[in-house]
């Protein structure tokens, strides 16, 4: 009797779980999985606009063959994007972490002031950031060159020199996104056990030992999540490049997202653009899966060794 009763209850409970999850799950599938499938489908077609309607013709793997054999600009973008991601994200992580440490150690008044100043760049809309930095980095009348001119240097063509343009874009991205990393790192630091940090102060001689052997290992979960997040976002960089250099000069600041945008919207090559998107999407997913597997394997190995 009682067993029967619990069985009914369990079944009712299961039904409740399924029905309450259904709306969110449906929405997720429609909004996320469907566009990806649609994109995948599109990548096998050649699409032309004729008489106000799209004409689909199945071309099989042609788009992919073209991408891997004849394309130059996209692959320049991939190369730039990898440089961009590695350099910008490394700088953001180091700077953000250091700033968070500085704020954590500062007194309460200093903390409020520093947090306010550090957070300013995320509040500024991207369009304003692009315009602002173009004005600063402009060749003729830019603030940067004016200041350099005062000490007898320059002028430097920050955005027009192919050797400098990518570095300039990276600089703006670091300026833009470091506060975000800082915020996550500060939240992570605040959540560490205060007594453990005090124990570390007593057990170590010098701040570097505390950071290296206690703070960093304890912050690892936060660091990994932030890193992952920033790497993904840096492969999606668009607004800064669009506003500062539009990918130029030449392909100096071409990035993946910009190539896709141009192919899709400027050149109306929907099928080819879809193929680029699919390659990008699956590469990033693969990298994330491999990175996660690597981290988990390492954790498992350390556990086994212990």
């Amino acid at each position: 009797m009682a067993a029967h009763h619990t069985e009914i209850k369990a079944r009712r409970n299961r039904r409740w779980i399924i029905f309450s999850l259904l709306p969110a799950a449906t929405l997720f599938i429609v909004l996320t999985a469907f566009p990806v499938i649609n994109l995948l489908g599109l990548s096998f077609f050649h699409v032309e606009w004729r008489e106000g309607a799209a004409q689909f013709s199945l071309v099989g793997l042609d788009n992919f063959t073209r991408l891997f054999t004849q394309e130059d600009i996209f692959w320049a973008g991939v190369r730039n994007n990898i440089i961009f991601a590695v350099v910008a994200v490394s700088c953001q992580m180091v700077l953000g972490f250091s700033m968070a440490l500085a704020v954590k150690t500062a007194g309460s008044r200093g903390r409020a002031a520093l947090t306010g100043i550090f957070l300013l760049p995320i509040i500024v809309p991207p369009i304003v950031i692009g315009t602002m930095w173009r004005l600063i980095m402009g060749r003729e009348f830019g603030l940067a060159n004016t200041v350099l001119g005062l000490v007898g240097l320059g002028p430097v063509d920050w955005l027009g020199n192919p050797d400098l343009a990518l570095a300039s874009v990276i600089f703006v991205d670091v300026w833009h996104w470091t506060p975000f990393v800082f915020l996550l790192m500060l939240a992570g630091l605040e959540s560490l056990d205060g007594e453990v940090l005090e124990a570390a102060r007593i057990d170590t001689s010098g701040r570097w030992q505390q950071i290296r052997h206690v703070v960093l290992p304890m912050m690892m979960p936060t660091i990994v999540i932030t890193l992952l997040f920033r790497v993904i976002l840096s492969f999606k960089v668009f607004d800064e490049v669009y506003l500062l250099t539009s990918g130029g000069p030449g392909t100096a600041t071409e990035v993946v997202n910009f190539s896709i945008y141009r192919t899709f919207f400027r050149q109306d090559q929907v099928g080819y653009g879809a193929a680029m998107s699919v390659v990008t999407l699956f590469s990033i997913t693969l990298v994330i899966i491999l990175a996660r597997a690597f981290v988990q394997r390492r954790a498992a190995r350390r556990q086994a060794a212990a």
């Binding site: 005090e198 007593i202 057990d203 001689s205 010098g206 052997h213 206690v214 212990a306």
Partner: protein, 360 residues
């Protein structure tokens, strides 16, 4: 072994004075317990000695050497925290040897000291576990081990037993005191628990609002409390503090109806407070000469003793009936009347300012 000397130590947070000015000398090899209610400044004082809290004024010296301005890591002190504060990402062995490794101590010394400490604390076989895989008692031992392997000049303990259950706490008290004696170390131990203070200390430092109320052996503190605060803080159940007048009747000193024969022959009459501990009463069912009646309110039987809480003409009283009086305690019910009288010589008298009136 090292002595610790605090001179004119001051601490305030903004306008809030936590420790107005404090002097204390801790002898080499001594086990000193800082005890007091919450807000007494005992933890702040310990943290100032450790260097975790900045000092506004005054000095902390170890073996005559001023360490006030030194970093916590450069004072050669080890601390055991209330939450144990083990490094969650390190194994037991890594936790215990961390400070030595950071100081570049030789591999041979480290492994020898680790093995000694593991044996001393019965932690053998657990050295490769992470703190998350240990019980509360084991974590507490690891925290002690982390302090022991350093062989520091001074051990600091910040309520290290308060997260243990009652049984384990009682056992750990004895073990910790045993370790102290074996290592011959200087230990400073903070607690709010008077039982820990009484059972472990060579000397108790009783603090209230940042002021030292009394420094002395557990016996001195219990038997000769210097003021009302000390008398009521130490002892469980609390001492009875009775308000009344002292008068001189033909050479005999009376506190209300109690005759205080032999003590304080030259005392000034006037208002005083008489302190009598629950165990220092003569108790009888029949009226006692110079005693008061006690209407029984509540009875607490603890096994060895019985505590009776009731009201007398002089106010609420707590009296203890010990094992010898269990016959009397057996039939006792709330609402009945007993007669009690402070036992001769077990009186504590405090003047209007709360200070102890010394016996002649």
């Amino acid at each position: 072994m090292s002595n610790v000397s605090l001179k004119g130590l001051k601490k305030s947070y903004g306008s809030v004075e936590v420790i107005p000015s404090l002097d204390l000398d801790i002898r080499s090899g001594e086990f000193v317990v800082l005890v007091g209610p919450s807000g007494s400044g005992k933890s702040t004082l310990l943290r100032m000695i450790a260097g975790l809290e900045a000092v506004n004024d005054g000095t902390v010296s170890v073996d005559g050497e001023d360490v006030t301005e030194r970093d916590p890591g450069d004072r050669d002190m080890a601390m055991v925290f209330q939450s144990y504060a083990l490094y969650p990402h390190m194994t037991v062995a890594e936790n215990m040897t961390f400070a030595l490794r950071m100081r570049g101590t030789g591999e041979a010394t480290i492994s020898k000291r680790l093995a000694d400490a593991l044996r001393m604390l019965s932690l053998e076989g657990l050295d490769q576990r992470k703190p998350g895989q240990l019980s509360g008692g084991q974590r507490q031992r690891v925290a002690m081990g982390r302090a022991i392997v350093r062989q520091p000049r001074v051990f600091l303990f910040d309520e290290p037993l308060s997260n243990l259950d009652a049984k384990l706490r009682a056992r750990t008290r004895i073990e910790l005191r045993g370790l102290h004696d074996k290592l011959g170390a200087t230990s400073i131990f903070v607690t709010h628990d008077q039982i820990e203070a009484m059972t472990m200390a060579d000397r108790i430092v009783l603090l209230d609002k940042g002021h030292i109320q009394q420094v002395g052996s557990p016996r001195e503190i219990y038997e000769k409390p210097r003021n009302r605060f000390v008398a009521s803080f130490i002892g469980s159940p609390e001492i009875n503090l009775l308000e009344g007048d002292i008068r001189d009747e033909g050479g005999t000193i009376f506190f209300e109806q109690f005759a205080l024969r032999g003590a304080w022959p030259d005392i000034q009459p006037g208002p005083y407070t008489l302190g009598v501990r629950p165990e220092n009463f003569d108790i009888s069912r029949a009226p006692l000469e110079g005693g008061v009646s006690l209407e029984v309110g509540a009875i607490e039987y603890t096994g060895s003793d019985t505590f009776v809480f009731g009201s007398s003409p002089l106010g609420e009283l707590t009296v203890k009936i010990d094992a010898d009086g269990q016959d009397m305690a057996d039939g006792l019910r709330a609402g009945e009347t007993l007669h009690v009288r402070p036992a001769a010589g077990a009186w504590h008298l405090f003047d209007a300012s709360g200070s102890r009136v010394p016996e002649n």
